[in-house]
């Protein structure tokens, strides 16, 4: 009897510890998000935040239009590069990758996942900036694309492997060539997972600063030509948050908040999409 009481007490204790862990895990998220919101809202509400580009200290107004456009374009081009290639590599891994090449690719992808993000900036600089002779948005896109690749190809491989084998066999039994079975049966069936992986990769890329420093460089003017230096929200946060001028600091915080909202939105979209697919 006594033992039972001890067992129940231990059980309660463990339940309590789990509850404390949950609270401890949730608290930093909440205070961090509150911090970002409180610091960021004044800047977001300032007039011109969404409609004007950077104004230096002493010039009233000013916003982050250049950075919003830059982030969308850099991440957009990066995704255009990374999503098809990443998905193709994912298809390779699941359909043809049970060999030495597949294992090598998986290993490289795992190692890339763990590299510090500044390394991707060095990559982009070496491959495109130093060879072309100027900074450009597209070199940042390439750096981010490489950073996104492992996430996308892993998500694709996992999703493809989940497709029931009977579907694949049914397609082949109907006499369809293998590539058509893959593209028209298997990939559509796995689309939910692929899209989620792509969106998560885009979200991560949007928040990165280090790969942009020596590729996109930054631009205080609105620039849409991908061969020119371009601004980005993450760069605005990084550069302006540490200036002594309060209106520029406000802009930096607001840019940070905008970035978090962008990422949250992407996450929510991914979830909704997956839920719809799963139904």
């Amino acid at each position: 009897m006594n033992r039972l009481i001890v067992r129940i007490a231990v059980d309660r204790l463990v339940t309590g510890l789990i509850a404390i862990s949950v609270a401890l895990a949730a608290i930093p998220v909440i205070i961090l998000l509150l911090f970002v919101v409180i610091k960021g809202v004044p800047g977001i509400l300032a007039s011109g935040f969404f409609t004007q580009s950077f104004h230096p200290y002493g010039v009233p107004g000013g916003g982050v239009l250049n950075a919003i456009v830059g982030t969308l374009e850099i991440v957009g081009i990066g995704s255009l590069l990374a999503v098809p290639v990443g998905a193709l590599i994912g298809i390779f891994l699941s359909e043809y990758g049970r060999n030495q090449i597949g294992d090598t690719v998986r290993f490289i992808s795992d190692v890339l996942t763990g590299l510090p993000s500044i390394a991707f900036g060095i990559f982009g600089y070496t491959v495109l900036v130093a060879t072309l002779g100027h900074f450009s948005a597209v070199s940042a896109s390439v750096a981010l694309a490489v950073l996104m690749l492992p996430v996308i190809l892993r998500a694709t491989e996992t999703a493809l492997l989940l497709v029931p084998h009977s579907l694949r066999e049914a397609g082949l039994a109907l006499g369809a060539p293998r590539w058509r079975v893959t593209m028209e049966v298997i990939v559509p069936a796995a689309l939910g997972g692929i899209v989620t992986g792509a969106l998560l990769a885009m979200a991560r890329a949007a928040g990165e600063t280090a790969p942009l420093l020596f590729t996109a460089l930054g631009n205080d003017y609105l620039q849409t030509n991908p061969l020119r230096p371009m601004g980005a929200l993450a760069l605005t946060v990084f550069r302006n948050a540490l200036l002594p001028y309060s209106n520029l600091q406000d802009q930096a915080w607001a840019a940070g908040l905008l970035l978090v909202m962008l990422v949250a939105l992407t996450n929510i979209l991914a979830r909704i999409y997956v839920r719809r697919i799963q139904r």
Partner: protein
């Protein structure tokens, strides 16, 4: 999404009979897929070149002494990586030690089914959102809000209660190893929680129900069924989190104190590999100085690779497939 991974049935190699049907489309498609895979290998080669070549001047000047040197003097071109390696390992260890129990506890809660499910969804979402907050934002938050709390509350408390240990001695400025460790704990918490949650979910339900049916309490079934089954996978989650913690740059730089010390006290100021790179990369002139920074990046990459490979191996062994959380 990786919750279903456990039921993955690997596709068996397609039988030769299908290939007999010659198809140009198939050849093109196969070619494309192989080309994409080869691209990955090309990227890796360029990566190695881009990091190793600039590091060569330092590697040839300092040799192995670089790893054991304790002086970092850019003026006289004497460089040693030991304080930064030490700081990187210590802060990451603190981060993992703090994040591990919390992440595991939260994962146990999130992996459970039924009851309180109204909280689980939003909580999972919030913790995943934490992973997406740019690290510079976390750094600024830590700099403005966490350091005063550490200085006036946490550090004095630890000094008062555990001051007999060498780790909690000396004056506390609010910056240093411990504060950086706390920041890292916050940053790896999402990975730790999400990966552990997926691993725990993969524990066959029948096992758990059997244990409960035999009269075990919830705590006992966690201890004697869930954790043993998930042990390897959780170890993998820890190692993956460690990989992330080792490479974290900006947020740590804001609170570590950036001072090349080696000291037992967790209150003392320190330095980490990524912090040195972030601090000095843009102002470094001369091939040897730049080379020293690239060599730090190389050391960091090697440590990260080792940790990640270990983590993947463990998780693979456990799940027979790959976790999809990056």
């Amino acid at each position: 999404m990786s919750r279903a991974t456990a039921e993955v049935i690997p596709a068996p190699p397609v039988a030769k009979s299908h290939r007999r049907r010659f198809n140009a489309g198939d050849q093109v498609f196969t070619g494309l897929a192989y080309a994409a895979a080869l691209l990955m290998i090309v990227i890796a080669v360029i990566f190695v070149i881009a990091l190793v070549i600039p590091a060569l001047p330092a590697i040839t000047s300092f040799g192995v002494g670089f790893l054991t040197g304790r002086v970092w003097d850019p003026v006289h071109l004497r460089f040693g990586a030991l304080p930064a390696i030490y700081g990187t390992l210590v802060t990451s260890a603190i981060g993992i030690l703090l994040a591990f129990p919390i992440g595991l506890g939260a994962a146990l809660f999130l992996a459970e089914e039924g009851g309180l499910s109204a909280i689980r969804g939003p909580l999972s979402f919030a913790i995943e959102l934490l992973a997406a907050i740019p690290s510079v934002v976390i750094g600024l938050w830590a700099f403005f809000i966490l350091t005063p709390i550490m200085r006036s509350i946490v550090d004095p408390f630890l000094n008062h209660t555990l001051g007999f240990l060498p780790f909690f001695r000396g004056g506390a400025s609010g910056y240093g190893y411990l504060t950086a460790g706390v920041v890292l704990a916050i940053m790896v918490l999402p990975i730790m929680t999400a990966l552990s949650r997926d691993v725990i979910r993969a524990v066959p339900r029948a096992l758990r129900e059997a244990s409960l049916a035999l009269g075990a309490t919830n705590a006992e079934s966690i201890w004697s069924v869930v954790l043993p089954f998930a042990r390897v996978g959780i170890t993998g989650a820890v190692l993956l989190s460690l990989g992330r913690a080792l490479g974290e740059t900006i947020a740590v730089t804001m609170v570590i104190g950036n001072s090349p010390n080696i000291s037992a006290s967790l209150f003392s100021l320190g330095y980490t590999l990524p912090s040195v790179i972030a601090n000095e990369f843009t102002e470094a002139v001369g091939k040897v100085y730049q080379g020293a920074l690239f060599e730090l990046a190389l050391i960091l990459a090697l440590i990260t690779i080792v940790v990640n490979v270990l983590a993947r191996l463990l998780i693979w062994r456990f799940k027979g497939s790959e976790p999809s959380v990056a």
